[in-house]
């Protein structure tokens, strides 16, 4: 017992002499108790700062209150792409932890929604589906819709959910909502496998239009990102967003041509229907995949313009608000 205590005492006061441990208090030791009384022989090796990089090579950061319009900081965002990847990867890895069904959930959700839609809208209400088997018709719309709904919900909550990070570390804040959008893609890819199976089952062959599919996927994510930027920045300050979000997503589902076709909307109103960006996105997606319905025209372009406006506006709004995130979130 006494031996241990002595050892601890020595370790505490003179780690310098312990080969395993880095100098513990070299500065204090130079004139300290033990070194003077017992180890006067040991010449203290004062460490001289050995700069590893030349001053000229050191990045310079200037911190001052920002004024007026700020840049989007896309270059910095690019520098932090690895963090973006890691945050998305974290969300994906954590999502289905401790669930029995795991990633099957990514298919189960749209599948069951499709079954319910088929029963009530397809069979009972006999909603026209542009000559496409109703299950396939609704599932092709549910794919981008689920991606959108998930990405929107996650990105809107992302700033609040990552509060600990935001109040403790600096990184471009855009990384946070962007990572949750990217994470949504995984579910999309899994659920996509089912649509391929369904197309084979119903004997639907994709046309050349399928090459435009990536564009519609990107447009879906851009829509979710644009709206998510506004909502996440608002959510940081007003938690009301969290409660209205489920409501918004629900209403939006029925305002979009998921369970029905946009041909139900009179032709002359269709461009206005495109003001709901998801209308253009979903019809475009359906057309790209199945090639059966009409190629979306004006409606799609209206949607694209709306998405662009929402996205750019959202980016600037988010950048303006992000400087107060750490204080208000």
């Amino acid at each position: 017992m006494a031996e241990i205590d002595v050892a601890q005492f020595l370790a505490c006061v003179c780690c310098r002499f312990d080969s395993n441990i880095q100098p513990y208090l070299p500065r204090a030791l130079e004139n300290s108790y033990i070194s003077e009384m017992t180890f006067t022989e040991a010449t203290p090796s004062r460490a001289t700062p050995a700069p590893s990089v030349g001053q000229s090579a050191l990045p310079h950061t200037r911190i001052e209150p920002s004024k007026g319009w700020i840049s989007l900081g896309l270059r910095e965002l690019w520098q932090y792409r690895e963090l973006l990847f890691f945050l998305a990867w974290r969300d994906i890895k954590v999502r289905y932890k401790q669930t029995a069904l795991g990633a099957a959930w990514a298919v189960i959700q749209p599948l069951f929604t499709m079954l319910v839609f088929t029963l009530f809208f397809g069979r009972l209400a006999k909603v026209p589906s542009d000559g496409i088997p109703y299950p396939l018709f609704s599932y092709t719309a549910l794919l981008p819709w689920q991606l959108f709904a998930y990405a929107l919900t996650e990105s809107s909550n992302s700033v609040v959910a990552n509060e600990r990070l935001i109040t403790k570390v600096y990184f471009p804040r855009l990384v946070v909502p962007l990572a949750s959008i990217v994470a949504g893609l995984v579910d999309f890819v899994i659920a996509f496998a089912l649509v391929i199976a369904m197309m084979i089952w119903y004997g639907v062959r994709p046309t050349l239009a399928v090459l435009t599919l990536p564009f519609f996927v990107i447009l879906t994510m851009a829509t979710a990102f644009g709206v998510g930027l506004w909502l996440s920045a608002l959510n940081a300050q007003y938690r009301d967003v969290r409660y209205t979000l489920t409501f918004i997503v629900q209403l939006w589902l029925f305002a979009s041509p998921v369970a029905y076709s946009s041909t139900l909307v009179p032709a002359r109103w269709r461009p206005f229907y495109g003001l709901n960006p998801m209308a253009g996105v979903i019809e475009g997606f359906r057309w790209a995949l199945l090639g059966k319905s009409q190629a979306p025209g004006t409606m799609l372009w209206v949607s694209v313009v709306v998405v662009a406006l929402v996205l750019v506006g959202g980016l600037y709004y988010y950048r303006r608000m992000e400087k107060t995130f750490a204080d208000v979130v």
Partner: protein, 446 residues
């Protein structure tokens, strides 16, 4: 100019009161929007007369005007009372929040360590969390991969590296989290209180690591409450007070200035209004004082002299068994000891109504140098009822005048230990091995 790592010029930060605690509901904004036009008219008329009472109440300056420069390779400490803006300053320097006024320049990649384990996810394994946390702290994936083994070895979690961290003990969790941060290859490191966590041996390891960082030319800015780690690690310390730099210089000097300023407590506390005094309807505390043996009230006591802690209290309800007790804590927050009244005159005797003055005497040559805060309480022991417990009731400093007759003898440097008794030493000479060769070597050394 070239050897400066951090330069702050007139940094100020204003917060709206309540901004940090409460979020605004959309409802408030809508009401704001509705009333805004009217308010603008009103504030325009107010501005002309420079009456802005409304603004004054809801805003406060966490930092008013902070300027300093830190050289490259310097390890500097920041100390100050709670809420003085130390953490805010660090948050500004790490770009988490913006200053309201002023500017700062930093030369070099900046890493901030405001919390151990930022971004750790409980569901992920130790391995995953190393990569995630490293990326959050600004490391490249290749860099993390290269240091992976080193990090795991430092954290001593080799066996559990593929276990989710939610199954880790808190010690393992802390070790892993610090290990990642400690392996950051950045030029400037901003550290907030992270040394206050973990067990003693881990703290020591952290201190070692920080020390070696500075020896490799890293600049470290350390916010701490632990005066001993500040003086140990930092050559230089900046004392913040009232939102600006109160003192800046050699750590020992700045720390002693800070301690002299009294850590918010003094050698004497009195409660003149019995209604507001700590206590209940049985007993109320009226005063606590530090006295020397000659009866003076003082906050500075010679290490060789006895110290009297005097407690004055009014018993309002007669017939209770009351035991005054005192609690001693040093400046590092270490609970030194408790003392409970043993005066045989009142031991197990119900006390009548009236004023009592109880004094506990701490012998000279017992405490070590430093600042002690004293908590005062009166309790009933069976059943246990604490009638009041005033933490940090008073504080006093124990000083050694270095005359050579205290326990430190003729040695004037840092002296470890929370107590410093002057022990009785005995020496025997000339027994048995007087002729051994070892004795000769020792003589030669002298």
């Amino acid at each position: 100019m070239t050897d400066i790592a951090i330069r702050c010029e007139g940094i100020a930060k204003q917060y709206r009161i309540g901004e940090r605690e409460r979020y605004r509901a959309l409802r408030d904004v809508i009401t704001d929007m509705v009333t805004a036009p009217f308010r603008r008219v009103r504030s325009a008329s107010q501005d002309s007369s420079h009456v802005n009472g409304n603004n004054k109440e809801t805003r406060f300056w966490a930092l008013k005007d902070v300027s300093f420069e830190i050289k490259r390779g310097e390890v500097a400490g920041i100390i100050g009372r709670n809420g003085v803006g130390k953490s805010t300053l660090l948050k500004i320097l790490s770009r988490i929040t913006e200053p309201t006024r002023g500017s700062a320049d930093l030369w070099g990649r900046v890493g901030s360590l405001l919390e151990v384990g930022t971004g750790f996810h409980p569901e992920l394994t130790g391995r995953d969390n190393i990569f995630l946390n490293g990326a959050i702290l600004g490391m490249r994936k290749t860099e993390i991969a290269r240091k992976f083994d080193e990090i795991v070895a430092f954290a001593e979690v080799e066996k559990f590296i593929d276990t989710p961290v939610k199954r880790y003990s808190s010690g393992m969790y802390m070790r892993l989290a610090f290990a990642v941060a400690a392996h950051l290859e950045l030029e400037i490191l901003l550290v907030d209180e992270v040394l206050a966590v973990g067990d003693a041996s881990f703290q020591k390891k952290c201190l070692n690591k920080m020390q070696s960082l500075s020896e490799h030319g890293r600049t470290v800015l350390l916010v701490s409450h632990n005066m001993s780690s500040v003086t140990r690690l930092c050559e230089r310390t900046i004392l913040l007070d009232d939102g600006s730099v109160a003192c800046d210089g050699r750590s020992q000097e700045v720390v002693s200035v800070y301690l002299q300023s009294g850590v918010g407590a003094s050698a004497q506390r009195q409660w003149d209004n019995i209604e507001k005094a700590p206590g209940n309807d049985v007993v109320r505390l009226r005063a606590v004082r530090v006295r020397t043996e000659t009866g003076e009230v003082t906050d500075t006591i010679d290490i060789r002299r006895p110290i009297g802690i005097e407690m004055e209290f009014d018993v309002l309800k007669p017939g209770c068994l009351l035991v005054p007790n005192l609690h001693f804590v040093n400046e590092e927050g270490v609970y030194l000891f408790a003392a409970s009244d043993h005066d045989p005159k009142w031991h197990r005797r119900p006390r009548p109504r009236g004023r009592f003055v109880s004094t506990a005497w701490i012998p000279g040559n017992f405490l070590s140098e430093g600042t002690l805060t004293v908590g005062a309480a009166v309790s009933t022991m069976d059943p246990v009822v604490v009638h009041f417990f005033e933490r940090d009731a008073i504080a006093f400093h124990v000083v050694d005048s270095l005359d050579g007759d205290s326990a430190r003898g003729d040695y004037a440097g840092p002296f470890p230990g929370v107590v410093r008794p002057l022990l009785k030493w005995t020496t025997e000479y000339g027994l048995g091995i007087a002729a051994s060769p070892l004795a000769g070597v020792e003589d030669g050394n002298r």
